[in-house]
Symmetry: C2
Subunit: 679 residues, 2 copies
């Protein structure tokens, strides 16, 4: 019977509802592919990987056009029966072995679907479709024969072409070294790990499963790593660490200065971050019970200074106008060339940058949040040591970078620390008593429910005492100080206010706020919020606010529909406090969303979905970058935003929340600081 | 004036004689390119590189169609006049600055031609056209501007596209690291080193000249390296060294055994050869007054075991049938991945192999000698520790590999050594006196002209005493022993012959031949040719002969038109002695050519001419490989060829040269040895 004369049958695939006419005798696996439904298959139809199980729905489905209740698939053979019994699902079918012999309705369960979706918890709960760049296939290779000289790599290529339609392949030297031993051990059957369908990264004997990838957000202060299963998309483990470069300079400018101030400066910073990455790789694979050589790809995001140093490129040019990047585009380089200890053939992908001061981390935030798909006017703010700000509306995207400094990450704050167990992340000040209470990371109860001292029963004692204050706590405490009237809008402690937690010096000119008492504190000394701390927060938030305001002016926009707050702000920031502090321009409180480490999420998306990498490149080039450093409007807004929340802007959504403003000039020392803060 | 309406002029280019009509105002550089004559230009017409000088021939050339004796090029400007004065050639023109304004006849001198030709000394004195894979261009890059975010790599790509029509470029990480400092130092003008017109290997400030490459023949016993200027093709220096792997096994089988006998076997051999290569790189660049980082490409050839070990691939599979290669095709990998110390972005190119036992070195020999371009029946033999034999005729190519062992390189010979100063390379035995005389490498006079001892005047003394005997000497001494009647065709010393140089034991059963006396010898002890040495030569030559004979049988060929002898046989082998020894089947003496290290020449050709790399791939696949190891015809011929020259073959071209054969059986111990010699 020729191909043309085969009868056709109706195949319906649930839950997608895809339907079509397919030729008699075709496997369900292949038929589904023709209808646009990818069923997972690693072994290529050899009944080895067992990934392609589907359920046949029996019965007549007249309305769907399936009128025969007869068995409409080829019968199971012994091997299939045995396998399905072993898996405990004798009623299912292996789609690689079941052939269509009549009209049939089939359900493809989630676990058998290729391009799985995993749900990312965020403001919009978006799904990530799993279409990874790294993929594994099982292949059986011809035996070498006397008088036939293709070589094993030639034979493997031929097998990959025949069995997987893969062509124009190259092979990494390390995979070539592994090839012959794998073929011998696997008796000519091997699992091949491919990058981008064109480069062989590994060859392992027999049927092997397990390709993993790491998404890393290299922040100036914190590095966060996420280990994922590249087949399922599952997040297997995560870990974070301080960026060890911090000891050579807290902010970007001081890192850049360090690389220019000494010959080995770049080398020191580069080695430091690579060392930290190698530690994080080790920690995440250990947690997941894996080995380094199972990790075949790492996706790295970071601001431009971080990515330059990571690549061993001197960031010197980023230290002064015109802030020239060495490279704007995404890069794929062997991870080993960076000194990263993964599989020796692993690929390192670095997302593209937008401009000299808006790097791959911001592109990752955009990739995670996709504000450009919305018609609303959205302000997306990623707060780290530098704040990257993107304003988007119908079809347009503006971005800017503001030098907020490390205050929001706990830097330049006397009791500051990064978000870790014991860090104060929530603060409330009682409007009557003016006494604070707080919550630390790792302990669910608020501090006023803690029982302390030797007599307290162990279960009533907190798991962690207060060790310091992290980003979200800093924002809350300043906002709460203002709301309780202890702080004036100009940032000075209010000399007219009374609180047992407020300690004044003899002349009642300078005060500090006792956030945690000696007893509540891990160090045994009280944790204080000083006047200097408040000033540093004012500088940081003014820089952020002025950047956002500048973009609104350039885009000709007067109000925001939505604000997305990304960044390692402890866990989440409270929208009300962000608004009270004047971190962001006015917006409806319910439209302000904190999304955690969206840069890390974006890195994870790029790791799991190759198509989104192309999207990243498109978006990076579409964004119009506004340079804050040289803009007089930015300077003006910066001065006005030193006020809490802002000297002249109305905040209609804070109506009734803010205390009545007392007349107060901009603090005298702002002008000097402003210059320092704007590079 | 539009492009179409420009008047046309006749341009004739000498010495090629190319002619054509070109538009008024076009530069000579561009016009020549249109006529298919590439004039060298590195600076892209900026009058910086001065490479494009041409000579205008004045006068009327009526017969050539040039009828105007007037100046027919645009006048020189000040910069050109100054430059040409400085170069001492005021009468010449820079073709990038001279525009055609009338009919003109121009001579492009050899040094201004791109694709220069260098003459390779060989049997056929072939010219190598210089079209290297690595090329340098000078380019001026846009200044970075605020508000423009291409990045310096983006700007460099744009400049390379505009100024050199180069597109789809990638950049090595090391070049990317060098990019911004080079742009700064060169005030946005840089010299870019490109590989294959698509990958940037280096960026240097300003106008720089100097890209070099290394061609290396990695033999089992000897490694030879040739350093070339990639622009001119000139051979700048060369050096050779013992392959340090020799201490872990003299022949290929023992090397392979070493890699399987211990866990770190491969690592030891790999490290040894890489170390030797790094030493040779250092030596050749030092000789040429260069630095390692100016070497941008290395082309490596070797037999399959050598290339496997070089790449860090275990050659285990080559140790037994079916002798499966890991990879047959050519490879391009970063030299740094092999641990080679060149420019950090340098490329390593390994030529393709033909079959499990015929490797890149044989492909290189074919590339150098191109027997496939001839209609004659040519036997090309590359003699090393393994002999690769190619028989070619009209449109067909057969190859085989024979395990000759290291005897021809001085191994397994009691006084053997490699070709180095003091090695005996020529031997004659006087037909009357039966006394030997010899010549050593590094001393022009034969040993019978030497004056030795304290009384001899210094200028009459040899520069080197005899230190041992190398390949060509070994062949000559055995052939001369036969011609003088001291040796019987079965390989035994002739008990009936008398020579003062022949020392017999008491029973006159075993003899040794004194080639150099104690006084002539560097060690102060006589250099002997023993019966065992003769046996080893017999085994080696029998393997070679049998391989050649097998190919002739398979090709259905009874006579050879030409024999090409390649290999590190000291300098050259004497055709007569080769034939007398029975190294090769009969051939007219004047049609036997020794061509020295043709594998090294082939490597050099592949280094200098990118198009010849494609030719290598085509040829490697075209050759039909005949496996000697399992062929009964080979076994039979091997036994017959133990005789000197061969037991049954007629050697018409040796008529009158050979002594009358005495009846003698094949030596008794041949059968056992044969097995050992055929793997």
């Amino acid at each position: 019977m020729t191909e043309e004369r085969k009868p056709l049958h109706t195949l319906i695939l649930m839950p997608s509802g895809r339907r079509g006419r397919v030729p008699h005798g075709i496997t369900v696996l292949e038929a589904a592919r023709q209808l646009g439904v990818e069923i997972e298959s690693i072994c290529g139809g050899r009944q080895t990987c067992q990934k392609c199980r589907v359920r046949v729905e029996n019965g007549r489905f007249d309305k769907l056009g399936i009128t025969s209740a007869e068995a409409s698939l080829s019968p199971r053979d012994e091997k299939e029966i045995a396998l399905l019994e072993k898996l405990g699902t004798p009623e299912m079918r292996l789609s690689c072995n079941a052939r269509v012999e009549g009209d049939v309705l089939i359900t493809v369960p989630e676990e058998s679907r290729a391009h799985k979706q995993i749900i990312r918890k965020s403001a919009n709960e978006r799904a990530i479709e799993v279409i990874p760049t790294v993929r594994q296939v099982y292949v059986e290779v011809d035996e070498a024969q006397l008088g036939e000289h293709r070589g094993d790599w030639g034979r493997l290529q031929d097998a990959l072409t025949e069995q997987w339609q893969l062509e124009d392949l190259s092979i990494d030297l390390h995979a070539l070294r592994a090839l012959q031993p794998a073929l011998r051990q696997g008796k000519r059957a091997v699992t091949v790990t491919l990058w981008d369908g064109r480069r062989v990264l590994d060859v392992q004997p027999g049927y092997r499963e397990g390709a993993y990838g790491l998404a890393v957000d290299v922040g100036s202060t914190t590095i966060a790593a996420y280990l994922c299963d590249l087949r399922t998309g599952e997040l297997l483990s995560s870990a974070s660490a301080m960026n060890p470069q911090v000891s050579y300079g807290e902010d970007l400018m001081s890192r850049i200065s360090f690389t220019t101030s000494r010959r080995d400066g770049l080398e020191i910073l580069h080695t430091a971050v690579i060392g930290a990455l190698n530690d994080l790789i080790g920690e995440t694979v250990r947690q997941a019970g894996l080995r380094r050589r199972q990790v075949y790809e790492i996706v790295l995001v970071g601001n431009t200074t971080m990515t330059h140093i990571l690549l061993g490129i001197n960031p010197e040019e980023l230290g002064g106008a015109p802030f020239a990047l060495a490279n704007r585009d995404s890069m794929d380089i062997p991870a080993r060339d960076l000194g990263l200890r993964l599989n020796p053939a692993a690929n390192a992908h670095i997302l593209p940058a937008e401009a000299g001061h808006v790097g791959a981390d911001n592109v990752a935030v955009l990739l995670a949040e996709q504000p450009y798909l919305q018609d609303e006017i959205i302000l997306t703010v990623d707060v780290g040591t530098n704040a990257e700000i993107v304003l988007s509306g119908e079809g347009w995207l503006y971005s800017a970078s503001s030098p907020t400094g490390p205050a929001f990450e706990g830097g330049q704050i006397s009791a500051g620390m990064r978000a870790a167990p014991g860090a104060i992340e929530r603060v409330r000040i009682d409007p009557q008593s003016k006494q604070p209470r707080f919550r630390v990371i790792g302990e669910e109860r608020w501090s006023d429910e803690w029982q302390l001292g030797l007599e307290a029963p162990p279960e009533a004692q907190p798991k962690h005492l207060a060790a310091g204050i992290c980003g979200s706590g800093i924002i809350e405490v300043v906002a709460e100080l203002l709301l309780s009237g202890l702080l004036l809008p100009d940032g000075r402690f209010n000399p007219a206010a009374e609180s047992p937690a407020l300690q004044w010096d003899a002349e009642r000119r300078k005060a500090a706020f006792i956030l945690a008492t000696a007893e509540q504190s891990a160090s045994g000394k009280p944790l204080l919020i000083t006047q200097e701390d408040i000033r540093n927060i004012q500088l940081a938030k003014a820089a952020l606010y002025a950047g956002a305001k500048l973009l609104m002016m350039r885009a000709g926009v007067e109000r925001l529909d939505r604000v997305i707050l990304a960044g390692a702000f402890g866990s989440y920031i409270d929208p009300k406090h962000a608004l009270v502090l004047g971190l962001i321009p006015d917006c409806a409180l319910e439209q302000i969303h904190a999304v955690g480490n969206a840069a890390g999420d974006g890195a994870r998306i790029a790791l799991l979905n190759r198509e989104r990498r192309a999207e990243a490149t498109t978006i990076a080039r579409r964004v119009r970058y506004i340079e804050t450093a040289v803009d007089p409007d930015f300077q003006e807004q910066f001065v006005l935003a030193m006020h809490i929340p802002h000297k002249s802007d109305p905040f209609p959504h804070l109506k009734g929340v803010l205390p009545k403003e007392s007349p107060s000039p901009v603090p005298r020392n702002t002008r000097r600081r402003r210059r320092a803060a704007t590079r």
